[in-house]
């Protein structure tokens, strides 16, 4: 049951794929000149670890689409400290930056990794950083290195140390088994949060990244639960007749927007997690669903077909006033807001296929980002650089990612079964 299903990462950029046709080629602005970085293997000084930290950092940076890496076989030396670096060698290889690092055991199961980012062109050290952790945290150490390098070079905070939550469904002995998983943002270290013979849906992170809310049918009906990641304690939050769905944690973590149909049709409600009081926010005979908070904590976005087709609306929590935001096309649903509070990722139907599109709340411009056909559940990384979504490869559900400018994309195929409903965690430190 707890067998870890490693998800291998395929850089789609490297695939000779026809599935991602013109759109990819057309909009690669900014990424046709990736920064070339060389990552010297981390000196282990006799310490035995199974992870290759340098390779994890390299994979992180390459996956962002903004970097390419000098292959190890081309390196003339593997320096561990800046004092051992011959800049000329690295300049000859074309490297703009070089990462060096060295590990030491400081106490029982406590390891220290000192690393430096060197600017090869300027022949100087950009920064030195020290990170420490246990043997089981080597991937955390690696992702932290990636975060620091990414931030120093791009000026954008790295999101390599974040996590993904997602749901899988596997046919086992003729019956479906539903599982809620949490993994690192690169798909590694998958952990099982919940396993059930009944559907699990709609995972939503608490803003501190310590809990997930989700819908589980384990009682025979849909109900919203919250679950702590570290101690696995669970609490059922709703038990109404009809729909209990689409939980979305407020930015302050004190409230949850959700959908109940106990009044006869789906309406948006707000649950105060301290007082357990429910407040009804919409009042319409149409479908109102998929609420998501705006960063101000005062407004929600939601999907409604009150205009005849599903479209995105904005709802002010205090005044309950609603405003329609999307007009292009006859299906715009499941908005996920980027951290800029301005760019929406949503599901847009165009000629009977469902794509992820970005929608600018200020200009009203809608841009299709994907060319797959059954896309669902877009979720934007906390740094706004990439979004993850669910799509189909053949008849199987897989997770894929695309940058918000559509210039970078990759897929995370699972080894077996159907993967769906990714939810990108907030920053965890």
């Amino acid at each position: 049951m707890s067998r870890i299903n490693r998800i291998c990462i395929l850089l789609l950029l490297a695939l000779p794929s026809s599935a991602w046709s013109e759109l990819v080629i057309r909009v690669t602005q900014g990424n046709d000149k990736p920064t070339i970085v060389a990552i010297s293997p981390i000196a282990l000084n006799g310490i035995q670890i199974k992870e290759d930290i340098g390779r994890i950092v390299e994979a992180d940076l390459k996956r962002s689409g903004l970097f390419s890496a000098i292959p190890r076989r081309d390196m003339l030396a593997f320096p561990a400290f800046s004092k051992d670096v011959y800049y000329r060698d690295w300049r000859m290889l074309g490297a703009e930056y070089l990462v060096v690092g060295s590990m030491a055991l400081i106490e029982e199961d406590r390891y220290r990794l000192d690393f430096s980012l060197l600017n090869v062109t300027a022949q100087k050290t950009e920064f030195n950083h020290r990170v420490s952790g246990t043997k089981s945290q080597m991937r955390d150490l690696a992702h932290l290195i990636s975060d620091k390098i990414y931030q120093e070079i791009t000026g954008i905070r790295g999101a390599f140390s974040t996590r993904l939550a997602y749901v899988t469904a596997n046919l086992e002995n003729g019956k479906y088994v539903y599982r809620l998983h949490v993994s690192d943002a690169d798909g590694a270290r998958e952990k099982l949060m919940l396993e059930s013979p009944e559907p699990i849906m709609s995972p939503s992170w608490s803003p501190n990244g310590k809990e997930l809310a989700y819908v589980s049918f384990e009682t025979g009906r849909p109900a919203i639960f919250r679950q702590n990641l570290v101690n696995a304690s669970r609490q059922q939050l709703t038990d109404f007749s009809g729909l209990n769905g689409a939980p979305s944690w407020s930015p302050d973590g004190k409230k949850m927007a959700l959908v109940l149909s106990k009044d006869g049709n789906p309406e948006i409600y707000m649950l105060d997690l301290q007082s357990n009081k429910f407040t009804r926010l919409t009042r319409h005979f149409a479908i109102d669903t998929e609420p998501t908070w705006m960063p101000d904590g005062k407004n929600l976005l939601f999907t409604s077909d009150r205009g005849g087709t599903p479209q995105i609306y904005k709802l002010n929590v205090a005044s309950k006033a609603t405003q329609r935001l999307t007009f292009r096309g006859n299906y715009n649903a499941r908005a996920s807001l980027a951290p800029d509070g301005r760019t929406l990722a949503l599901i847009h139907r165009a000629s009977s296929t469902f794509h992820v599109a970005s929608f600018d709340l200020v200009t009203g411009r809608l841009i299709e980002l994907t060319e797959t056909r059954l896309d669902e559940s877009p979720t934007v990384a906390p740094n706004g650089a990439m979004l993850m979504y669910a799509t189909k490869q053949g008849d199987r559900g897989v997770l894929a990612a695309v940058s918000l400018d559509a210039g970078v994309r990759y897929v995370l195929p699972a080894k077996k079964g159907d993967v769906r409903e990714p939810a990108w965690s907030p920053y965890l430190r």
Partner: protein, 162 residues
Amino acid sequence: MIKFNRISFVAVSLSMVLAGCSSAPTDQSTDIEDTTVQTGQVDTSAIEDSAMDMASGADTVFYFDYDKALLKPESRAALLEHAAALNSSPRSVRLEGHADERGTREYNMALGERRANAVKEFMVMQGVSAGLIEVISYGEERAASYGSNDGAWSLNRRVELK
């Protein structure tokens, strides 16, 4: 390359001095916290498998058009038969609404409920007590036919009477 946000230089940390390290100067340091994920347990004891026999051999699955929640004329005969049976010997039934996989999951939950409600309304109009009918939507979560094609989708847009 854009470059800002230089990390300010912080004096060599105490731990480094204590460890007697003589490597590169350290600007900043980070300790990784333990955030290991544990597995929760579901309690499925409440679930009853309601494989009750339906009146006669009338159909118990009713299909719908894409994006629609209107009963099809061909569903009427079987529903009238079920309504008559429930009126003569009342018992609780479940109407499980489903959608095909196209579109978003929570919207499809709402669509599945709309379909099940359409069946419920029809049965209530035939005199069945609304209190006997429970509506549950599974959206696109429990496909009857697997595959991403028109044939599978048409079998998945359904309401099951149980």
